[in-house]
Amino acid sequence: MPLAIVLILLVVGSLAFHFLSPWTFTPLASNWARIDTTVDITLVVTGIVFVAVNLFMAFCVIRYRHRKDRRAEYEPENKKLEWILSAATTIGVAAMLAPGLFVWAKFVDVPEDAMQIEAVGQQWNWSYRLPGEDGRFGRASTRLVSPENPFGMDPDDPAGQDDVLVQSAEVHLPVDQPVRFWLRSKDVLHNFTVAQFRVKMDLVPGMETHMWLTPTRTGRFEVLCEELCGIAHHSMRGAVVVEDEADFRAWTASWPTWADVQARPPGNATAGAAQFVVCTSCHGPQGQGQQAMNAPRIAGQDGWYLEQQLANYQAGVRGAHPEDTYGQMMAPMARTLATRDAVANVVAHIATLPDQAPAATVEGNAAAGGERYTVCAYCHGAAGQGIEQMRAPRLAGMSDWYLVRQLENFKTGVRGGHPQDYYGKQMGFMAATLQDERAIRDVVAYINTL
């Protein structure tokens, strides 16, 4: 008896949960309303079955529960009943399948006028490529991938010269314009998902997969990787910004073409030396860093990383957070470097500075830190040397007190909290796994031994 009641309560409860639950599909932002419809149809059909069958079962449990005087009916089978039920089920299945296949057919054939865009995945971040004026993508291959050529572009393919290379996890799309995503991976499987768009597809190394949709709502939507791709799978985030045509054009123009990238002159160290004077006041003449000034060592740090961070300071992606006191000091300094070349020059100069590790200032249990560092090693390298293609800077031999502060900032979101600081957000995920001050000191103590 209690069983029957519970069964009924579970059915009622499940329905209640379903209708009251605030956790449902995110508001649609693409043309795939049809998918939602199919989901609803499926919900209705299966819902009816769920309620009907279970209530009937509950009824049986009540009505036919054991009593001394009762004896079960003897009925081996009932062909008629069984056929009716099978037929009903078949109809129910068909009612769900038919619309499903109809919508799938729509998904399978891509509209002629769809604009093309390529999402490139790697452990553990996104970048994008647009075909440029000629509307054709140039040849690209994983074998050509290198720090200088992260997209693996084929320099000899004329079609590739005007391809726009978006070295960022954020991509923009014009609203109401069908777009076909080409998906390419440099290493393992990934999956390009925007919940609000409904459709998703895997990135498969060695082949180009694709999917299409039409953004119907302007706004900013998160990109999640939904195929397990290693230990930082959950932190492989990006964003799609849907905006009107004009803004989209402006955004596209702000990114270099493959030709631009190749033409870029290397930074000029001597020119950089002049601008570097400004920096020395805090970071020290040799860029060796000064704890008193809260300025970290920059000599010996990877050039690409310095450029990236300077860009972040300039754009207010870093050093904007109210609690980031020292970052706020650095931001205006960074802005004194007016042009991209200016930045390149300073960085080139910094590369010429002597590379000697400062004395350790942080105590901690290096052994325990070593345990935890195994996770860090996936991106920063076992020797803490930094790996450009993972967007992970050098740690070994950099100012340890500074590392401690940054880890705390990452943990609290003071750094990496800005919506456009994707690599920062990723580091935030990892810093979050360091429970406390001690854990942080341990790791840094270990890094000091590298």
Binding site: L3, L7, S14, F17, W23, T24, T26, R34, T38, T46, V49, F50, V53, M57, V61, H66, R71, A72, P76, E77, N78, L81, E82, L85, V93, M96, L97, G100, W104, F107, W124, V145, D187, V188, L189, T193, A195, Q196, R198, V199, K200, L203, P205, G206, E222, L224, E226, E227, L228, I231, H233, H234, R372, Y378, I387, K425, G428, A432, T433, Q435
Partner: protein
């Protein structure tokens, strides 16, 4: 011919009765002992996997509160959790455990036809388990590739345990397959050739049918896993490029070229989908017998039930790519596989209906096994219906790789067959041990497990709708994820901990009952099938004393009109007058 067959069988099964403890309980060739060995080992690893699941839940419910759960270890936990639960717990428990115990007894034979190979099967299985557990302790730890072990990720540097863990995992799987094949050959041949006189196929209890079909699926599907494991192992150790494409790993170009990751997925799921029915079909069969026995009514539509089992078995080989709708395979496959996948719903539906119709106009005793059986029907319907969502290719687009999938397969595999396992243990415990267990504790165990698991998995569907991806160490702050979702995760975790703790009640009940439970009636439920008609309880080696039983009727003669008793054992001749409960073997 008939007599010849029996004769030539009886001398093939040399009938020995070992005396020494070692020969009796360790190197035993008795199917019942082997069954228990299988079951205990499986339950042991099951508990390991259960512990892992709790640790996963701790991270998901209370992110980053525990220093021993890093992203690395989290992915290692889910991988081992999944793999152990599916293969080393359920497959081994249903086929190695229940298959071994029930087949010879229900078919009325003295033992499996190849007892020695049967014993070997267990020891090889144990070996595979040890290899698996060893991988926790090698440098780098066990593999964190997810139980699907997809390359390139499974064997490339971005993944935990890509050094030794994955190698041990693959070796362990290969070993398991060898063990399973040795057992499987036994089950098939025993069912087909070693039944007692009068036991036609259509007189077999559905438990045997379910296990039989599952075994056939296993024998044909596991080779797919073996093939993919061998080729992946070669890619890993000898740098072939079956599956491994060109790639840049941690900034380094690798030696592999042009391999096809999708090829692996096809092979894996060609095994993987039948596998899920390998753990489902025995549950279907066993639950049918539990329902019939405790509802005192013949299983409704026996023939349909048998054909449904065959149909499901056949169909399960042509639906595998429904796991690959968003894998980048040729999208046109979607049409075919969506159709076949939804067709499977029909035979499955028939089974569900017939279970419920068995209760209809029955005389339902709500004993512990029955509670679990009815609980199974409920959770299975729920899980099956969510499968329909995923099978319908476009509906799978938003839901694939989200918690909806996790919810689906836990509802349908993580709890339904588990409920049957428990029900079956409570049902056959008196026969296996000769002792009775505590009904009261059994009920507690049922209620907490049933309600607990439902409160774990129902909410997961809604996280899935919301778009929460599976295999995420942490959600972090994601714009479309309200804080309420985090709260939901906490509640799930709490239920999970409760349910996990509940299993201690079960273990306590089993152990104490074994030690000082009161002696069990040889046929406490008044069941008709042969295993309840053995001359002694627990059955001795050889099962049947001097003479094999002879069967005169099907397995479901409950409440037959005109008989005072509400059941007639299969061994009772058609013309014999009504018989009493404690009825032993009928000698021919």
């Amino acid at each position: 011919m008939a007599y010849v067959a029996i004769a030539d069988r009886d001398h093939e099964i040399e009938h020995h009765d070992p005396r020494t403890f070692i020969r009796k309980y360790i190197w035993s060739q008795d199917h019942k002992v082997i069954a228990v060995q299988y079951a205990l080992t499986a339950i042991f690893v099951g508990l390991v996997a259960l512990t892992l699941s709790v640790m996963m839940r701790l991270q998901l419910g209370f992110p980053n509160d525990f220093s021993f759960i890093t992203p690395e270890s989290y992915y290692q936990f889910i991988t081992m959790h999944g793999m152990i639960m599916v293969i080393y717990l359920l497959t081994a428990l249903f086929l190695g455990g229940f298959g071994n115990y029930l087949i010879p007894l229900m078919c009325g034979s003295r033992d499996m036809v190849f007892p020695y190979m049967n014993m070997l099967s267990y020891w090889v299985y144990l070996l595979s388990v040890l290899i698996l557990l060893a991988s926790f302790f090698v440098p780098g730890g066990s593999t964190g590739a997810g139980w699907t072990l997809y390359p390139p990720q499974a064997i490339s540097s971005g993944t935990a345990g890509a050094q030794w863990g994955i190698i041990l995992m693959l070796v362990s799987l290969a070993t398991f397959i060898v063990a399973f094949t040795m057992g499987g050959l036994n089950y098939v041949t025993t069912v087909l050739q070693a039944r007692c006189r009068g036991m036609t196929l259509m007189r077999l209890p559905l438990s045997v049918w379910g296990i039989f079909m599952a075994t056939i699926l296993g024998l044909l599907a596991f080779p797919a896993l073996l093939v993919s494991a061998i080729m992946l192992l070669l890619d890993k150790t000898l740098y072939t490029s079956f599956f491994m494409p060109d790639m840049v790993s941690a900034g380094q170009q690798t030696v592999h070229t042009n391999g096809s990751p999708i090829l692996f997925q096809h092979l894996f799921w060609f095994f993987g989908h039948p596998e899920v029915y390998i753990v489902a079909l025995p549950a279907f069969g066993i639950v049918s017998d539990l329902l019939a026995t405790h509802a005192r009514k013949n299983i409704f539509g026996y023939r349909m039930m048998v054909w449904a089992i065959l149909a499901i078995g056949g169909l399960s080989f042509i639906v595998w790519a429904h796991h690959m709708y968003v894998s980048g395979m040729n999208p046109y496959f979607g049409f075919f596989f969506a159709t076949t996948t939804l067709i499977i719903a029909v035979p499955t539906a028939i089974k569900v209906y017939n279970w419920v119709l068995t209760l209809w106009r029955g005389n339902i005793h709500l004993r512990v096994p029955m509670l679990f059986a009815i609980g199974f029907i409920f959770t299975f319907i729920h899980g099956g219906l969510t499968g329909i969502f995923l099978g319908n290719v476009v509906v799978d687009l938003p839901l694939s790789d989200t918690y909806f999938v996790v919810a689906h397969f836990h509802m349908v595999m993580g709890v339904s067959p588990i409920l049957v396992v428990f029900g079956a243990i409570y049902h056959w415990f008196p026969k296996i041990t000769g002792k009775m267990y505590s009904e009261r504790l059994g009920r507690w165990h049922f209620w907490l497990t049933f309600l607990g698991t439902y409160s774990i998995y129902l909410p997961m569907h809604y996280l899935g709708f919301l778009g929460v991806p599976r295999r995420y160490f942490a959600m972090g702050d994601t714009a479309f994820m309200p804080d309420s979702a985090h709260a939901l995760n906490e509640s799930i975790t709490i239920s999970a901990i409760i349910v996990a703790a509940t299993q201690l009640i079960f273990l306590y009940n089993m152990i104490t009952s074994l030690a000082r439970g009161k002696k069990a009636d040889p046929n406490p439920w008044g069941a008709t099938t042969l295993e309840w008609q053995t001359p002694d309880t627990p059955p001795r080696h050889g099962n049947w004393g001097h003479e094999l039983p002879v069967v005169h009727r099907w397995a479901y003669d409950y409440s037959v009109p005109g008989y005072p008793e509400d059941f007639i054992p299969q061994t009772v001749p058609a013309d014999v007058a009504p018989v009493g409960r404690r009825h032993g073997v009928q000698h021919a």
